[in-house]
Symmetry: D2
Subunit: 220 residues, 4 copies
């Protein structure tokens, strides 16, 4: 298995500096990762650094709380695409989901998808905050709203990906969207377990450790 091609090489801590982003991009080229995943303020830089490579640029939107106004999510997504992002990882509106305001949750996602057209949209559920029923319902809404991926976690909440959540997501999605597992995946065996479960992409900040079989203590 070519594990590298599943990896979004990720650096989202707010104190990340320009040099750390340069290092991230260079590593992504060296290991031929699928993408780098960065905060909005570094999209233009990543795009410039990766322009001659096949590594894509992924940016987060409404991150990590997902509680931004829909209009702001739409603008942020369009702005990221304009600055060179290939893919968008947005956070679902958790309060509306908890409140069963499913029309709002759908619309929040669907408007972002419409704004970015053919670009890939991943929707982060933040599964550590959700019941099994909420994970299932949220996954279905993502499919209805034309999300390309359903993603487990931001890496900034109390927990990351879990096997159970992936299984629930898979059942709810029923082949109509892809899955990205993220949060707490720090080693090769765990990465492979998720891929064997059917995950299409891995969001990891420990990509180098995973590829080299060493160990990381990162929480993402």
């Amino acid at each position: 298995m070519k594990l590298n091609s599943y990896i979004d090489h990720t650096l989202l801590k707010p104190t990340a500096t320009k040099n750390e982003i340069i290092k991230l991009c260079n590593e992504a080229i060296t290991y031929d990762f699928f993408a780098v995943c960065v905060n909005g303020c570094y999209v233009a830089l990543a795009n410039e650094l990766l322009s001659d490579s096949s590594v894509k640029v992924c940016s987060v939107i409404g991150f990590p709380l997902g509680a931004m106004a829909t209009e702001a999510k739409v603008f942020e997504a369009k702005n990221a695409i304009a600055q060179g992002a290939d893919e968008i990882d947005m956070v679902i509106n958790l309060g509306a989901l908890k409140n069963k305001h499913y029309d709002f949750v759908f619309d929040d996602i669907n408007q972002v998808k419409k704004a970015i057209g053919d670009h890939t949209l991943k929707v982060i559920l933040e599964i550590s905050e959700l019941s099994y029923d909420e994970i299932s319902k949220a996954s279905s809404i993502c499919v209805d709203a034309k999300a390309d991926f359903v993603k487990t976690s931001t890496g900034f909440s109390s927990g990351g990906a879990s096997i159970e959540a992936i299984n629930i997501m898979k059942k709810a999605i029923n082949g109509k969207a892809k899955m990205k597992a993220s949060g707490g995946i720090r080693d090769y065996d765990t990465a492979k377990t998720y891929i064997d479960l059917g995950v299409d992409r891995l969001g990891v900040s420990s990509g180098i450790a995973i590829m080299n079989g060493t160990k990381s203590n990162s929480n993402y």
Copy 2:
């Protein structure tokens, strides 16, 4: 001392529901707090609920990481004002600050200030991530960029307000901006300590506990 008039009554957890925001607003009216502080998706609701009161609406921008593109911060701030926000609490770009890209940090703040005009702008430093020198330098940049307030913390990082940080901020600001202490302030004596040090506003999710002399375990 009328402690209530110092308080931004705050609810920023991403899972907050509509009913929790309604409760927050009603409490703010009952206790005559200065403002409520909510995520962007609840600005319109809070504005509607508080329209007949003197309680102001404060919204957070680029929250809590501060790593959004400047254009997205500007749009999010304008959008919040359009939906009824009176005050804007934005997070500083921590990576640029760490990198000593002070022009970027200044511009990130100044563009938001220009976009919101006379509305109050508070800039969150996230002091738990900064050295004393960085707190001092960031405070000076905030003043130069026409911020109305320098604020300590988001409540989503590893630590909140500290006495030392307030003293450093006060010295750097030198009377040219106000100060907001936030993060970990959960009781009357602590609130009073910060006010005695010269703080002009308190961001607390424990406003009721503080006013009633009881205890909260909230982290904000």
Copy 3:
């Protein structure tokens, strides 16, 4: 698979009350779990409550830091056995392990094992604090010191069990001891994954949720 027979039903939070321990023991009887795992102050109570059942009593020693003097670990273990504990989960001395004082690490474990005789000794490595090499070395020392089980985590550190760590432990142990996975195991699929990997016991505070296919947010 009879998942229940793999479970140490666990409640170790320091604020746990007598009624919570009574509930824990009753649940263990209802679900026929292998054991309950409690802090030392509740061993006598659990022993009394479970005397007519097949559910065993497990107590933690030097918990959760493992930095107690060896003499104190030995006494605490003997005292727990005297009060009715069937099994002992002690924490390895992490500082000595980091320092490569392997004789000390061995002796710390071996003295506890000698003190409790035929009673089962599990040694907690706290894998979130260790490199892969340290996990491997610690597992070997546990085998040499006659531990019956090597266990991953306390549930009080930054991370719990991981698939990679189990695989490393398995290789180092080479069939000469059993394995207990603990920390962050909150659902049936994850529990089953660990058992399929060869784990002999699961330390979980979400035993009921695991058996019923619902969800827990507990960190243990």
Copy 4:
């Protein structure tokens, strides 16, 4: 004010190595701190290193959960004294306190005090887990049980010392015991604030930063 004489220079993380303890002791001599505070496995080493100095050795007992059996706390305390500890910082039994089993809480403390005679006993309340009423009641029990100090926090829970808690403790203690503030005290101004409130001792891992006016990110 000679701030150094108020400080218990503290290193309690479980991975602390021998060299880190040697450094801690040397720093304590250089700055003439009141004591070092270490885990039980390092008492003998600290005692040896500090034998020619006036710096005292303080060890923690039942740390940090306080849920050990009373017999084990008593043994651990006596063992620490035998190995050279001058002072004992034990953790109160939080479950019994929550359960209003005040006789048990009293006895747990009083037996340790009897076991160590004239040596100083500090009792850690872990105020982040307690209501104001519980802080007050626990402080009174400490006084009745002949504790020499009431101490706020372990540094391993969700929060550290607070001004309000100190004020509540002071009122309940009414001059019949001393107070130690610990947890989250990382700078000179905060340290001085606590001393001005009447605190007699500070447990800090940032002693050097406090003395030099620089900044630490330690949680203790």
